[in-house]
Symmetry: C3
Subunit: 273 residues, 3 copies
Amino acid sequence: MLEGCIKQVRAVHPLIHNITNYVTVNDVANVILACGASPIMADDAREVEEITTICQGLNINIGTLNARTIEAMRLAGRKAAALGHALLLDPVGAGASQLRTRTASRLLDEIHFDVIRGNVSELKALAGQTGRTQGVDAAAADIVSDQNLPEMVSFAKNYARETQSIIAITGAIDLVADEKQCYVIRNGRPEMAQITGTGCQLSGMMCAFLAANLANPLAACACATITMGLAGEIAYQHLAPYEGNSSYRNRIIDAIAKMDAETIKQGANYEII
Amino acid sequence: MLEGCIKQVRAVHPLIHNITNYVTVNDVANVILACGASPIMADDAREVEEITTICQGLNINIGTLNARTIEAMRLAGRKAAALGHALLLDPVGAGASQLRTRTASRLLDEIHFDVIRGNVSELKALAGQTGRTQGVDAAAADIVSDQNLPEMVSFAKNYARETQSIIAITGAIDLVADEKQCYVIRNGRPEMAQITGTGCQLSGMMCAFLAANLANPLAACACATITMGLAGEIAYQHLAPYEGNSSYRNRIIDAIAKMDAETIKQGANYEII
Amino acid sequence: MLEGCIKQVRAVHPLIHNITNYVTVNDVANVILACGASPIMADDAREVEEITTICQGLNINIGTLNARTIEAMRLAGRKAAALGHALLLDPVGAGASQLRTRTASRLLDEIHFDVIRGNVSELKALAGQTGRTQGVDAAAADIVSDQNLPEMVSFAKNYARETQSIIAITGAIDLVADEKQCYVIRNGRPEMAQITGTGCQLSGMMCAFLAANLANPLAACACATITMGLAGEIAYQHLAPYEGNSSYRNRIIDAIAKMDAETIKQGANYEII
């Protein structure tokens, strides 16, 4: 059933408005196309409400935020929320600077996001716990592992209850939770951490999955997460011995373009807690 | 004869100033290098006139416009026009927001562009017809097809007459027209639509072809369009079964780097109406 | 000994703050990851001091500078200098506009950079000599060659003495000099000039090498330069006949990801003058 979510993306072909960082924006656009949706990027305050109106989802990523784009995020977010669009926040680097933590918190105060997706340190920082964010990567001490899994699942569910959002904490083990259920997903490969922007890419794709599956939001977010992890596994098989992180990046996006429901059904590695 | 235009690009090696969006800018730079020219990106109002002065062409793309870059576009555009440089406008998303439509229209009012290149919905929006732009893609109802070809060729020629610019409408069928002649080009592959920025890339390359062939502007623009389409065909042949849009993007730029006049002569698929 | 510098990068795993242009930023991030460090990009004045504080190095690249980011460069630079972090300036396009020349000069006046890395025309422009910068490429008349080598080595050492910085002039022949010694490096391939941003990539990587080898700054900068050149040589061997500059870009980053001290020891081609 979960695997059907990707069929919906390709049938509905949602248009996703992205206000995102300039580091990984090209990959985000290509991943959104790869999964069957369409991207548009626009971050000027004078047009974001109009642009987001013609879309079905809004992906806000604070990776290279500035005063101008923060204002655009707020305007677009309020409009998308009012229209009932799929709304995702990727709080890149929350905990690494006050500007980022405050901007993400303020966006969360003003706008209801369907999903908040980040690494564990970013999510902890937002939840008011001691996030140990190191730049844009999660701190080692925060990483979700088999040892701290029960505690982390509780954290995700509790924060989902508090925010009434789906919480997606991605890393070696991915958690995708609402207040009642948590998908614990073990797809993916460690080499994915050597590519810039796999998190940003997942956020863009998750927003597309959500926009095309509004009746099944948790399954949609879990399916997007599994799709990214599986793509990392498939892509790895096609790497020549001399290929490194740049080719791996391309092959992951390729694998998303070739992904189908049957592959997800066979390859998905998760439990629901 | 048309195919000789690519030789000129490699002989003249024009320097192209780009004020373009941050989504596809890296691919635009690599495509300009691939075809034999050199790119420079600069968008601060305090330097764009000086930068454009040392160039031979200016490519303005409104894909992620904002107040700061719009001002830079106007200053650079006026200077490049005064110097007789090759001047191209890519009105990305015209029709999708008033800011974009107005900005493109105002640039066209103030500055004479040698070429306007966009998808059919963007061009219709600028021409004051009902553009049905959906984000940055053309609306299905607008697409150039064998059915509406005569009407679309007339539209292109008429809009060329009105603006005294070459009009390049690209999609499954490409039209490159001045007021008297229209190249109808059938190179390319549908999979190119699954890559972000093939339009932006073509605009950058077309500006380079124009800058190196100022005596044959229509042939130069047609040759650039054929080069992009043929590169899409050649690149497709080199795709492994597991490769998708990200590898395809790289292979298209590769094919442009390897393109020569003989390949264009053999592979060009067009008629002049 | 020099080759040990790459081991240090992978052991120390420094976090590098980049204020850089939006053209090549994604490649810079992936190269920094490939060599074993981590990148973070942040350019808002309200957060750059905080962000740079948690890093070990700061890479300032003026490739698409504007008023907002220039202010961020100054704030971050002063903070990083006060903290003793590795500090590198890449004066992209100095000599091509007064804004760029003045911005780079002012940054050099206010902040001590450990390294200044650019092409020969950019460095000459900053040193007050007649830089013949053509856009972002070095002018033909400036290129370091066997004919003008003694004179260029003197230039590099003299400018190193004047600035008390390491001077890295990269091109067909690379010079990496302090006031006493100059590495003359002959790794690399001419095809690397057909890729946008190999210079920017080297600057990011050099900052990482420096941050991880503060006790051996000149060897660190030389090792980063050799790593880039060797990666260009290795990547070239893996290019299929139909592959051009886009695939070459990916394969160079791949080769950096696979680079080790033994490969550097075997492949390094340099003399110290």
